[in-house]
């Protein structure tokens, strides 16, 4: 069992609090991703799990053991660093074998494990080379290999793909996911890239300014963000957050903003009841904005927008729309007609709206309320 539990973890550097009261759990064999912008405390949290940084308060357990006072080597973990942190003066074999040698593993066993890891990662032909003779992708594999040979209970990865070019990153992303399936071990993976988080994680913990914002499966985070930060961070392009005011007329709730009146569907209205006159953000994802001409459903909202920029992606197009001084990002099908400066009527899909309190940023409700 290699469940990793963090309970009320704090990290303080003098007066600066880097991690505020974080409680989360990586289940056994789970791929948990910590995601957030730079300085959000995700790497610090990972380093505390590794034992590289002390915790100021709280408790960390790996398996059944509280590891607060254990040194990194006694925590049964392996870590892959953003810089790979390969020892430059050792060849690939020695880099991978170093940890085992320090643990006094018998030589034949070291050889067997290094070769096995080498085969898994396809680097057996590189074992005699020094790190400087390797490409970025190869170094990354060696760093993974160094972690694998140890056969640890938990893998910790701190932005391991950040130094790779875009193509290799996508490829390696899939390989790490495959590795996770093959090794059936708990992975905790830190990244600032929401795409990596969404594609790799069984669950994702979103952090900001040292606070844990939300932890859940990628789909739940996408469909039911708890606040504007998660709504804006998860998903690319980001969710549109349109400022407006919640008003009630004839018993029906609607959001009114500049050049926009959006009646709320009953599912969402039920969650927003009693908050009339509040300032809110209406959230709508780019794929839930459509040209009226192409919208098949019955949308009780409609507004005029001007096309500013069109980005063709091949299978779809991202259209930046000017609407009452704000810019909305919409994802249209590739065949939808959109030219710069074109004026068009657009609609928001009422089944996919999100409502957030303007002051706190917290979610008031989501159209798809069944799961929320």
């Amino acid at each position: 069992m290699a469940r990793v539990g963090l309970e009320h973890i704090w990290k303080r550097y003098g007066d600066v609090v880097a991690v505020h009261d974080v409680t989360l759990e990586a289940k056994d064999e789970e791929f948990l991703v910590l995601v957030g912008p730079s300085g959000c405390g995700k790497s610090t949290t990972l380093r505390m799990v590794a034992g590289l940084d002390d915790i100021s308060d709280g408790s960390i357990s790996i398996g059944d053991r509280v590891v607060n006072d254990l040194s990194p080597k006694d925590r049964d973990i392996a870590m892959v660093f953003q810089s790979y942190a390969l020892y430059p003066h050792m060849n690939v074999y020695d880099n991978m074998a170093f940890g085992l040698k320090l643990r006094k593993t018998p030589k034949p066993e070291i050889k067997r494990r290094v070769n096995e890891a080498g085969e898994i990662l396809g680097i057996t032909q590189l074992l005699d080379r020094k790190p400087k003779q390797l490409s970025g992708g190869q170094r990354q594999r060696v760093a993974l290999g160094r972690a694998i040979v140890r056969n640890p209970a938990v893998f910790l990865m701190d932005e391991p793909l950040s130094n790779l070019d875009a193509k290799l990153r996508v490829q390696t992303r899939a390989e790490i996911s495959k590795l996770h399936q093959r090794l059936k071990t708990t992975f905790i993976y830190v990244t600032h890239d929401q795409t990596e988080a969404m594609t790799m994680g069984d669950r994702i913990a979103v952090m900001k300014d040292g606070f844990l914002q939300q932890i859940d499966t990628p789909q739940v985070l996408y469909d039911y963000p708890v606040n504007t930060f998660v709504a804006g961070f998860i998903g690319s392009p980001a969710m549109n957050l349109v400022p407006g005011e919640l008003k009630q007329t004839d018993g029906r709730l609607r959001v009114e903003g500049p050049g926009m009146v959006v009646p709320l569907p009953e599912s969402l209205a039920a969650q927003a009841r009693g908050k009339d006159s509040s300032k809110v953000f209406l959230g709508v994802r780019p794929e839930h904005i459509a040209p009226k001409s192409q919208y098949n459903g019955n949308a009780p909202n409609e507004m005029t927008a001007t096309v500013e920029v069109v980005e063709h992606m091949g299978s779809k197009q991202f259209v930046y729309l000017g609407q009452a001084g704000a810019t909305l990002t919409a994802e249209f099908p590739a065949d939808a007609e959109a030219r710069p400066e074109q004026e068009m009527q657009i609609v928001f899909d009422p089944d996919n709206l999100h409502l957030f309190d303007e002051a706190s940023g917290n979610a008031i409700g989501h159209s798809r309320s069944a799961v929320a």
């Binding site: 380093r47 590794a50 034992g51 590289l52 040194s71 990194p72 080597k73 973990i77 392996a78 870590m79 660093f81 953003q82 810089s83 942190a85 390969l86 020892y87 430059p88 003066h89 170093f98 940890g99 320090l102 643990r103 160094r146 140890r150």
Partner: protein, 276 residues
């Protein structure tokens, strides 16, 4: 534009060549003088090529005055104190670079302040101390004093150790390395260029040291080479052929050390220069 760059480059090279010639001329004169009989030494104009080449001066130097013994003494003292200096200065620098502990900064600056004391000011207290510790008139006394010249090297190495990425130390900690393993198996191999610099500087300083050796050694069997060189300067005349042959013998190990370590040395000097 191209012509301008060519002219600039030529000027720089010319200047460098001129500098090199000025530096090498005395050395060339030393080699030539060592390789010819004494009668030709003071000829005008000076010879820059031996007119009657001979190795007699070297034979005379080596056989006279127990020169081999002095050479051995110098080798023992310089090598031992260099090894001690490299090990201790790297340990201290590693600690200052990678760890925090109470009083770290004042301790570091106090250590650096000792660099500001002129060597001659220390001669008397050093002498008294050595006398009380029964280290006078012994090679151990020389080794102890020479090995105390650590602060400069700590300063040099600290910058180098600080430049080694923290991730490597973290990776080593996760691999199971303690402080000693981190120092010996990770940091020391990576600091090779800086260690080469320290080795050369330290060896050079110890090999050439004259004042303390002259002050503390009275037994002629324990003399080192810098003292021995004096023997060829007589009261009524100096045998320049012998002096230069002896000087050449003295200088050869220094050149050898430099040649062996120069690749690392240049890297070390450059990185410490950038680091400050």
């Amino acid at each position: 534009m191209k012509l301008r760059r060519f002219a600039d480059k030529s000027f720089v090279y010319l200047l460098l060549i001129l500098g090199a010639v000025i530096m090498m001329l005395p050395f060339l004169f030393m080699v030539v003088t060592a390789l010819q009989p004494g009668t030709y030494v003071l000829s005008i104009p000076p010879n820059f090529w031996p007119s009657h080449p001979t190795l007699q001066n070297f034979v005379d130097v080596w056989t006279a005055n127990n020169f081999g013994r002095y050479f051995l003494n110098s080798a023992i003292v310089a090598t031992t104190s260099t090894v001690i200096t490299v090990i201790f200065s790297s340990m201290i620098a590693f600690t200052f670079a990678r760890y925090t502990f109470p009083g770290k900064t004042p301790l570091y600056y106090t250590m650096l302040m000792t660099l500001m004391l002129p060597t001659l000011v220390l001669i008397i207290p050093q002498f008294v101390l050595a006398k009380n510790l029964h280290l006078l008139n012994s090679l151990q006394g020389l080794i102890v004093v020479y090995s105390a010249g650590i602060p400069l090297y700590v300063f040099l190495l600290r910058g180098f150790f600080e430049d080694i990425p923290q991730d490597l130390a973290d990776a080593a900690a996760i691999d199971g390395a303690g402080i000693w393993t981190l120092y010996w198996r990770i940091m020391m191999p990576l600091a090779r260029p800086a260690l080469a610099t320290v080795t050369i500087f330290s060896f050079l300083g110890n090999w050439d040291e004259f004042t303390w050796a002259l002050t503390s050694i009275s037994d002629s069997n324990l003399f080192t080479l810098p003292i021995a060189l004096q023997f060829f300067q007589g009261q009524h005349g100096t045998q320049y052929g012998l002096v230069f042959a002896a000087s050449l013998i003295v200088v050869i190990p220094v050149i050898a050390v430099f040649v062996v370590f120069q690749r690392h040395f240049i890297k070390g000097i450059m990185s410490s220069a950038v680091k400050g």
